[in-house]
Each structure stands twice: as structure tokens, then as C-alpha cells.
């Protein structure tokens, strides 16, 4: 939508997500006259998600400091307006509204759960502002007002299935938490399996916060599976892996591929319980690249030697640099200009080179299957042939027709 040079808060046009980028002026009330520019960080610093989102905030802070130390964006220093999403989707929506209309930030970085993103989406579309979302998610979404810097399904889940297929796994057992991401992901996995001659020998969901996995592990034991695909979330992973190990199963005979266990979580589950198990992400602390060596060293220098870096943290760090790249390419902080310039912007990220897809606002990234080692870090076991183009609606996969 096109918005004139209107004053702060005077905008009444709330049509969500209308197409067209006619106007050349900035959206709403962003002030670009001074020698600084405001951006918003919106992460949960309280509530159940604080454990994870605090780490994302830390890496965003680091990226902002780095950019400011290097002279800012288009000669303007970044001024960060920080807000707490409090692990509540409604709070995310309110705070996003506040950041856009009363703080007048040029872009917002944050969100973690899909429900927080879904709650913020209408706010960003309504005000034609920008959100950079740093976490892998279930796909099937592409808003022109959101840039998705985490993986979509074809950059994480499908490569993980490709890997299992390559390893000759024929019978896969699905276990996940009972909410939107695991159920959506499993729908895609089942369609993939059908098309690729893999049998799904079980599909089990545990309520969020479930603590007793004896029955699910019994079912798993009796299923004859040769691999497990795990979309459990949070604490349930601990109970699941302890049960799995104590029931006498091993990663050699029946590996578990997890999509929500990163370096940060391994310590809490206990390395003993997950050693040798597989994970699917796009970044590990152990990625061997100059950009990553610098990222890890800087992060440890800033926050302490005992800290680890993980995929969502790296995606958040990268998102700030991608926004900088888009602004510099557009030579403007205005949303329509950034949207027009976004396609093709790339960044030498710690995970490798990433490039923004101008059509769906996701980024091309390399899929990495990793193995958890005794030192608590994850080492790349397999990687896709170069960056995978994002395909949030799985249009490029015949078997995916009929999903979504």
C-alpha cells in the first residue's frame, strides 16, 4: 500500500497486506532525519519461552553493537527499542503495535513461537511495517511484511528425510508434541514417506509438558522402526530421551532425528542421554568458516566462555545484517523500497552464504544434519548440495500437492 509523508499516528489506512509498492516515501512515522535510526527488538524475556528467546536477544544485541561500531546503516547509528513479548502471543501483538506506531521503528526483529508470529502478522501487514523472524517454522506462509530468516520445511525437515532415505531407513516412527508445528510437519513427512517408499510405523503426540514417556517408548519398541523423527518441544525431550536410553535403545540401531534440539538444549537434557543422536538445522557452533569462527569468538567474549551459539541465534544475527544489506541496496529505510530491493540481497553468514528470495521473503540456506557429540556440541554429519531455495508452500514437490 502506498502511504504519504504522514505524521506519527495519523495513518488510518489499515488494509492488511494490499499489494503494490507505489509510494517512495517512508511508512508511517519512521524518523529518518537524524543521525540515528530506531529499530525494535521483540523477544520474550519472561515466561516459559524466555529461556530460548533471551539467547536470540543476546545475539541481536551483539549484531546491533557490531553494526554501530562499523558506522551504522546508511551513516545512521542504530537505536534499539527493546520490548518483552512475555511468551504471550497477545503481548507480542500489542508490543509490535507499540513499536510501530509510538516508537516509530524502521523494522522489528524477534518472535519465536508460531503463535507469536501469527499474532503479529496482521499488525505488521496493517501498518505495512517489517518483521524479521529468526526461527525455523512449519512453512505454508509468506507475508510481504515478514522476512523469515530461519528454515522453512524444505530446508530442514525434507533434507532430514532425504538423509534418512539415503541411510537406507525404511520404517520411521514419528513422535511430537501435540500442537501446530509437529502436526503440520508430520503431515509433510507422511506425504514424503508415501512417495519415497518409507513406511511410517507410528505417529504419537504427547501433550505439551508431558513427563511420562513409558507408554510411547513401549509403542516405539514394538513398532519395528529403524529411525525416529522427533518434533517434541521443550522439557518433554528430556523425559523422552531418558526413557529411550533406559529402555535399552541406542542411536546406532534406531537414531532419533530431532528438529528442536540445538546446542542450548543439549546441556539440559544431559549429553549422556543424547550422545550420538541426530539433529536437523542450518547452523551449528562447529561450522567451519571464518565468519562463524569470528561469530563464536565474539559471542563468547561478550557473554562468557560457557555460552554456546545455536541456529536461531545465528538466524537472528543474520537477520539484522540482511536488513542492513536491503536498506543499503535500496538506499532507503522505507518499507516499499526495502521490499523492492530485498530479492538477491546476500550475506556471508556464520552458517555460510545466505540469499534473500524476493518473492517469498525467505532465505536460501544450506541444510545440515548433525550428530551430538560427547562434548555437548553438534558436528555436521551431512550437508545439502549448497543452499536450498526456500519453498514454503512446497510447490516444487509433486508429493506435496494436496497438503496445506
Amino acid at each position: 500500500m502506498s502511504v504519504g509523508l504522514t505524521g506519527c499516528g495519523s495513518k488510518t489506512d489499515d488494509t492488511p497486506g494490499a499489494a503494490g509498492t507505489g509510494g517512495s516515501a517512508g511508512a508511517s512515522c519512521v524518523d529518518t532525519s537524524g543521525d540515528s535510526i530506531k529499530i525494535g527488538f521483540l523477544n520474550s524475556l519472561s515466561g516459559t519461552m524466555a529461556i530460548s528467546e533471551q539467547t536470540v536477544r543476546d545475539s541481536l544485541d551483539m549484531a546491533a553493537d557490531e553494526i554501530n561500531a562499523a558506522g551504522g546503516v546508511l551513516g545512521k547509528k542504530l537505536t534499539v527499542v527493546a520490548e518483552d513479548g512475555a511468551s504471550e502471543p497477545t503481548v507480542f501483538a500489542e508490543k509490535a503495535e507499540k513499536l510501530i506506531t509510538s516508537d516509530c521503528v524502521a523494522a522489528v526483529f524477534g518472535g519465536w513461537t508460531s503463535s507469536s508470529r501469527k499474532a503479529m502478522l496482521p499488525v505488521f501487514e496493517g501498518h505495512d511495517s517489517l518483521l524479521f523472524y529468526p526461527v525455523q517454522y512449519e512453512g505454508l506462509e509468506a507475508s510481504k511484511n515478514i522476512f523469515y530468516t530461519g528454515a522453512t520445511t524444505n530446508q530442514q525437515i525434507i533434507p532430514a528425510m532425504d538423509y534418512l532415505k539415503e541411510q537406507g531407513k525404511k520404517k520411521v516412527f514419528l513422535v511430537g508434541s501435540d500442537y501446530v508445528f509437529p502436526r503440520t510437519a508430520n503431515k509433510e513427512i507422511i506425504a514424503y514417506a508415501k512417495a519415497n517408499g518409507i513406511e511410517i510405523v507410528g505417529e504419537e503426540y504427547a501433550p505439551l509438558g508431558h513427563t511420562d514417556f513409558a507408554t510411547i517408548v513401549n509403542k516405539l519398541k514394538g513398532s519395528g522402526a529403524d529411525a525416529v523423527f522427533n518434533t517434541l518441544n521443550g522439557d518433554s525431550n528430556v523425559a523422552f530421551f531418558k526413557e529411550y536410553k533406559n529402555a535399552g535403545m541406542s542411536a546406532d540401531a534406531m537414531p532419533v532425528v530431532s528438529v528442536s534440539i540445538a546446542e542450548e538444549e543439549v546441556g539440559g537434557i544431559g549429553v549422556d542421554n543424547v550422545e550420538g543422536q541426530l539433529t536437523a538445522w542450518n547452523y551449528y557452533q562447529t561450522v567451519d568458516s571464518p565468519a562463524n569462527k569470528k561469530f563464536v569468538a565474539d559471542f563468547k567474549a561478550k557473554y562468557g566462555d560457557d555460552r554456546v551459539t545455536s541456529d536461531p541465534m545465528e538466524a537472528a544475527y543474520t537477520s539484522l545484517y540482511l536488513w542492513k544489506g536491503m536498506v543499503e541496496k535500496a538506499k532507503s529505510f522505507a518499507v516499499p523500497d526495502i521490499q523492492a530491493a530485498a530479492g538477491g540481497v546476500s550475506f556471508e553468514a556464520p552458517e555460510g552464504t545466505v540469499t534473500v528470495n524476493g518473492d517469498n521473503h525467505h532465505i536460501a540456506k544450506t541444510a545440515l544434519i548433525g550428530k551430538i557429540a560427547a562434548d555437548g556440541l553438534i558436528y555436521t554429519e551431512w550437508s545439502s548440495d549448497g543452499p536450498i531455495e526456500p519453498d514454503p508452500f512446497l510447490k516444487g514437490y509433486d508429493w506435496a500437492a494436496g497438503l496445506s
Binding site: 504427547a206 501433550p207 513409558a214 519398541k221 522439557d235 542450548e264 549429553v271
Partner: protein
């Protein structure tokens, strides 16, 4: 057949976890009528005790056994402090107790977060508890056998204390008729404090045991508190026997339904069955009949 036996053990094991979580509550809620929402946090304190003890005693086996004792004392002391400072002032206001102890629960959670950090921590299980043991031809995790044994031990110890010791007699007397006990020279205040100490201590022990099965984090207690109250309510107020029957019945029920359907559905159906049961028998499985006028 193997599957049936496996599930039988899964149910018994789940029952023993429920029992361990509910046992202390059966004392403090069941016997004393105090709705202590911080009971789960006493379990959490027990779990963190296991973590702290392991920092000092590096041998996982020794540290587990030491933790069970220290966990009892830590949980008990927390309970004692809560009883003396807050609960003793509101014995006549059960609903206020509920709110106050809920507040205490939140405070304890935040305290754990500040002291131990927000991410989960890990307690290593001893070598002799890793892997499975063959029982009736099926592999059962040793940790679960250990917890089953521990919960039975706790029940036996508690009922012996209640039945045979002077303290137990005083507790039962106070529960059955507070006024009469008082006029007979029993210090009901001292009895209340000791009962609360023991009940909270058992929660600490449960917390230590749960480190073998699940995650150890600030919100550990919230995962169990509802189930613990359910066990006590279904079992019937005022008797350990009821809690034991209820815990194993609910465990077996949950495991059986879950095996033939899903975990989420099993949870729902168990709740439905409990609601239906309480319609027919609101006093629970076992109830104490007293001549108290209250």
C-alpha cells in the same frame, strides 16, 4: 503378551511416580486440610538438591543416595518455614492459603531461576541404574524399578510412623478430633509443624527421584502438582491407603488408555473418569469416619 506386561509395568511405574508426588500431599492436604500449591516447588527444590549434591559428590550413585536424605531435609525445612511464617496464621482460611501458597510457588520458581539459571540442568544417573532389567521376559528401565521400590518404601515407612509411633498417634488424634486431642494434652501446634515437615520432606524425596525420569528446571513442580492433588482427592482425604490405591489405579488407567489411543486423549479420558467417579463417590475411595462434629 510382551506388550501387555510392558504396559502393566508402565502403568505401575506411572502410578509409583504419581504416588511419590502425592504422598506428601496426602499428609499435608489429606491429614491437615492445607491446600499447599507450593508442594510442587518442594519437589523442584528436591530435584535441585540432587543437582547441587552432585556438584560436591561426583560419584552419581553415592550422590543419589545422599540426595535422597538431603532432599528430605531441604523439602522439610522449606515446608516448616512456610508453615510457621504463613500457613499457621491462616488455618481457618483455606482459600487464602491456596492463594498465598500459589504466590510462594511463583516466588520459589523465580528463586530457582535466579540461583540455578533459567535453562534446565542435568543430574547424571548412576551407572547401576542405566539400562533395563528383564522382568517376566520384558525389559523394564532400572530407574523405574528403583522409583517403584522407593515409593513403596516411603509408603511403608510413613504408615509405620503413623501407626506405631507416639508422633503418629498424635497426628491421627489431631486429624480425627482436634479439640479432643488438645484437651487430652496433645500439642496440636507442634503436631501440625511436624506433619508439615514430614509431608514436605517426602516431596523433596520425590523431587530427587524424578531427576531420574524427567527434566530438572524451575517449573518441574507445576508438571506434577495437578496430578498429585487428583490422587489425593480420588483416594479420599485422611488416609494413605486411599492415595496408594488411587495412584496405582490412575497410573494403570492412563497407561492402558494411552496404549490403545494417544497420550492427549488418555489424559482427557482419565479426567472424565475421575469427574464421573467423584459424582458417585465424592468422598473418594477411602474415607475416614469420625465422631467429630466438624
Amino acid at each position: 503378551m510382551d506388550a501387555v506386561i510392558s504396559q502393566l509395568f508402565a502403568g505401575l511405574s506411572l502410578g509409583s511416580v504419581l504416588l511419590l508426588a502425592a504422598l506428601g500431599l496426602a499428609l499435608t492436604f489429606g491429614q491437615m486440610g492445607v491446600i499447599n500449591m507450593a508442594h510442587g516447588e518442594f519437589m523442584m527444590a528436591g530435584a535441585y538438591t540432587a543437582f547441587a549434591v552432585q556438584k560436591v559428590v561426583s560419584d552419581a550413585g553415592v550422590s543419589l543416595l545422599v540426595s535422597l536424605v538431603v532432599g528430605f531435609v531441604v523439602g522439610g525445612l522449606l515446608g516448616l518455614i512456610l508453615e510457621i511464617t504463613l500457613i499457621s496464621r491462616m488455618y481457618s482460611r483455606p482459600l487464602d492459603t491456596l492463594l498465598v501458597t500459589f504466590g510462594v510457588a511463583l516466588v520459589l520458581q523465580q528463586l530457582a531461576r535466579d540461583v540455578f539459571g533459567a535453562p534446565n540442568v542435568d543430574v547424571r544417573a548412576p551407572q547401576w541404574l542405566s539400562g533395563a532389567v528383564q522382568i517376566l521376559g520384558v525389559g523394564v528401565p532400572k530407574t523405574r524399578v528403583f522409583i517403584l521400590a522407593l515409593s513403596i518404601l516411603c509408603v511403608v515407612a510413613l504408615s509405620l510412623v503413623l501407626k506405631l509411633t507416639p508422633l503418629g498417634r498424635r497426628i491421627r488424634a489431631t486429624v480425627q478430633n482436634r479439640d479432643l486431642a488438645e484437651t487430652s494434652g496433645v500439642s496440636t501446634r507442634a503436631t501440625d509443624r511436624l506433619t508439615f515437615f514430614i509431608g514436605s520432606g517426602v516431596a523433596g524425596v520425590a523431587g530427587v527421584a524424578l531427576t531420574l525420569l524427567g527434566s530438572i528446571g524451575p517449573t518441574l513442580g507445576t508438571n506434577y502438582i495437578v496430578d498429585a492433588f487428583l490422587v489425593v482427592v480420588v483416594g479420599g482425604i485422611g488416609q494413605l491407603k486411599g492415595a496408594v490405591i488411587a495412584a496405582f489405579a490412575l497410573g494403570l488407567l492412563q497407561a492402558t488408555i494411552e496404549y490403545s489411543s494417544t497420550a492427549s486423549l488418555a489424559k482427557v479420558l482419565v479426567f472424565v473418569i475421575i469427574v464421573a467417579f467423584l459424582q458417585v463417590r465424592p468422598q473418594g475411595i477411602v474415607s475416614v469416619r469420625t465422631r467429630s462434629l466438624a
